[in-house]
């Protein structure tokens, strides 16, 4: 079975000679059908450029890729691909249902089929009551919803979402999250570009971290988040010797306003840490074990590769 997305050495270079900037550098990535893949990276890392190359909005300087087993730009493959760009712009004069009708017609749907599909999608993105309102009058959140609507109107097998919740309030974010999970359950492959790490954590099975155009980490979310353990510690009278012992035990140690955040590799080390502090005679005021959030892993990865 071909991969949903198969990227080989994809590179995008802007500028010439001294001004040359590699926005994306020799990207290699394979995403299986049915996966929800989170694509992370700081601003300017090359995430949007990557998606734009895959959608043939811009053309790669070198490298190749295939979507749903077909080469980039294949019109037949696009019949089963949906895309929500970052900061999607709309033709404001259209009403919501006209807008979706137009996009459905670009997929070659017949009029009767379009009518049914548009109503279904409007319901799905929570805009049924606004179907006759002009898009120009929509709030940012509503615009994002109608943008998602046009991306899923063709029941895509592969869906690219570039910052889908950036303009949404918490309720809207939850709705999009639920929608992603529902599409995942239906077998849709989703490529999610997002700054909302908590959202990625809740929806994605695998993540890739991109920095300065290079893919610096790729991993299953489970194996990335679960093995590491984090403990927040507040204690009085910690000696230098104890601190040194903690440093040796921890894979990462952060100190902020009297609070230590200790990252440990194994769960059993949590007890060892507690014992170490108690035995040193320090006054332990707080000891809160928790999983390392994706945000910390993300920051650590970026810092290590800076």
């Amino acid at each position: 079975m071909p991969a949903a997305i198969d990227i080989q050495g994809l590179t995008k270079v802007y500028g010439f000679a001294k001004d040359e900037v590699k926005a994306v550098d020799s990207l290699e990535l394979k995403i299986d059908k049915g996966e929800v893949f989170g694509f992370l990276g700081p601003n300017g890392a090359g995430k949007t450029t990557t998606v734009q190359m895959l959608m043939q909005i811009i053309f790669p300087s070198s490298g190749t890729a295939s979507l749903l087993g077909k080469p980039l730009g294949d019109v037949q493959a696009r019949d089963k691909i949906g895309y929500l760009p970052e900061l999607f712009q709309f033709h404001n004069f259209l009403k919501a249902d006209e807008f979706l009708q137009f996009h459905a017609s670009l997929y070659g749907m017949r009029a009767s089929e379009r009518r049914v599909k548009v109503d279904e999608v409007l319901e799905l993105v929570g805009l049924s009551e606004n179907s006759k309102s002009r898009i120009g009058t929509f709030s940012k959140g509503m615009l994002q919803r109608i943008g998602i609507g046009q991306a899923i109107i063709n029941d895509p097998d592969l869906l690219f979402l570039d910052e889908p919740t950036s303009a949404l309030d918490p309720i809207g974010r939850r709705d999009v999250r639920d929608l992603i999970l529902r599409l995942r359950d239906q077998g849709t492959t989703i490529f999610l570009n997002s700054h909302m790490l908590s959202e990625v954590e809740m929806t994605c099975g695998r993540i890739g971290i991109l920095n300065k155009g290079r893919l610096i980490r790729i991993s299953d979310l489970d194996s990335l988040v679960k093995p590491a353990h984090c403990v927040d510690v507040v204690a009085d009278e910690l000696t230098g010797e104890t601190m040194e012992k903690i440093r040796t035990l921890a894979t990462r140690l952060e100190e902020s306003s009297g609070r230590l955040t200790v990252t440990l590799e194994r769960e059993e080390q949590i007890r060892e840490l507690a014992r170490m502090i108690m035995d040193s005679g320090a006054n332990l005021l707080e000891f809160t074990p928790r999983q390392v959030p994706l945000e910390d892993i993300f920051m650590q990865t970026i810092e290590e590769n800076a």
């Binding site: 811009i58 019109v75 696009r78 691909i81 900061l87 999607f88 709309f90 004069f93 670009l106 070659g108």
Partner: protein, 278 residues
């Protein structure tokens, strides 16, 4: 079907633009003025001893010239941002990522503008023909081949402006197209300079330059068609040199020119990066 969807959408979009609305208001004013002129002399004061048919034909010739100019200006202004503005706004992204070839977007856009502007010319032409006919009592059927040639001119301007809109911002596009239009409309001056200075190369060169934008020549062909004359039988302008007499094949050349322009637009757009982020 997908190309047709883009065409219908373009038509819907363009008809709502301020340029189009302004153009339509101006056209209505023009429609109101022409019949007044055609009836003001009652067929005598203005036309003297020329018969009623000739008077009607002259008024229609005047109306046709005006319509040709207004139509071409509207075609330019409404097509200026056809592609570039969509790229700037980012609205093009929702089109190019759909299961469409890029050439379908160009052809769809072109069809939308052509349908709108041709519809405009045909309705305006019919209204002018009726108003002049009712005003002067003479209905001249030769007006319709002439209107078809005006239509061809307008499609040419749409096609040329569309090519530039694939890579030039609106203002630069306007400057280029108007410079081309003004330049090719005044080639007689260059030719006259050539004649005065006995420079035959300059005369031939200025004649050849008409091929850059054939609208002026086809406009003259339209006037000839209205007058019931064939190219070469009689010059429109008394002082005209033979090299500037409209050629009967110029409208066939113009059709080829339109096809080349649409092809060029698809060629430029085919491999164009459409993101402004770079």
């Amino acid at each position: 079907m997908k190309t047709w969807a883009v065409a219908r959408f373009t038509l819907k979009e363009t008809i709502r633009t301020k340029t189009m609305i302004f153009g339509l208001i101006f056209s209505l004013l023009y429609l109101a003025v022409v019949p007044m002129l055609s009836t003001s002399g009652g067929g005598t004061a203005v036309v003297g001893d020329i018969d009623q048919t000739a008077a009607g034909r002259d008024f229609l010739g005047f109306a046709l010239g005006g319509l040709n100019f207004i139509g071409m200006a509207m075609a330019i202004f409404t097509t200026l941002g056809a592609i570039y503005t969509e790229i700037e706004r980012g609205t093009i992204l929702s089109l190019v990522t759909k299961p469409l070839h890029r050439w379908q977007i160009i052809v769809g856009k072109w069809m939308g503008h052509v349908l709108l502007m041709s519809g405009y010319v045909l309705i305006m032409g019919l209204a002018l023909w009726l108003s002049v006919g009712v005003g002067s009592g003479v209905f001249i059927w030769r007006f319709f081949p002439a209107i078809a040639l005006v239509c061809l001119n307008i499609i040419t301007m749409v096609s040329l402006t569309l090519v530039f809109s694939t890579f030039l911002p609106v203002i630069a596009n306007a400057i280029f197209v108007f410079i081309m239009f003004i330049f090719t409309s005044n080639l007689r001056i260059i030719s006259a300079i050539g004649e005065t200075s006995d420079n035959i190369i300059l005369v031939i060169f200025s004649s050849a330059l008409r091929l850059i934008l054939p609208v002026s020549e086809v406009s003259e062909l339209a006037s000839l068609a209205l007058a019931g004359k064939t190219p070469g039988s009689q010059s429109i302008v008394a002082s005209e040199t033979s090299v500037f007499a409209p050629r009967s094949w110029s409208f066939i050349y113009e059709i080829t020119y339109i096809a080349i322009m649409v092809f060029l637009a698809t060629l430029v757009f085919r491999k164009k990066d459409l993101s402004q982020s770079a």
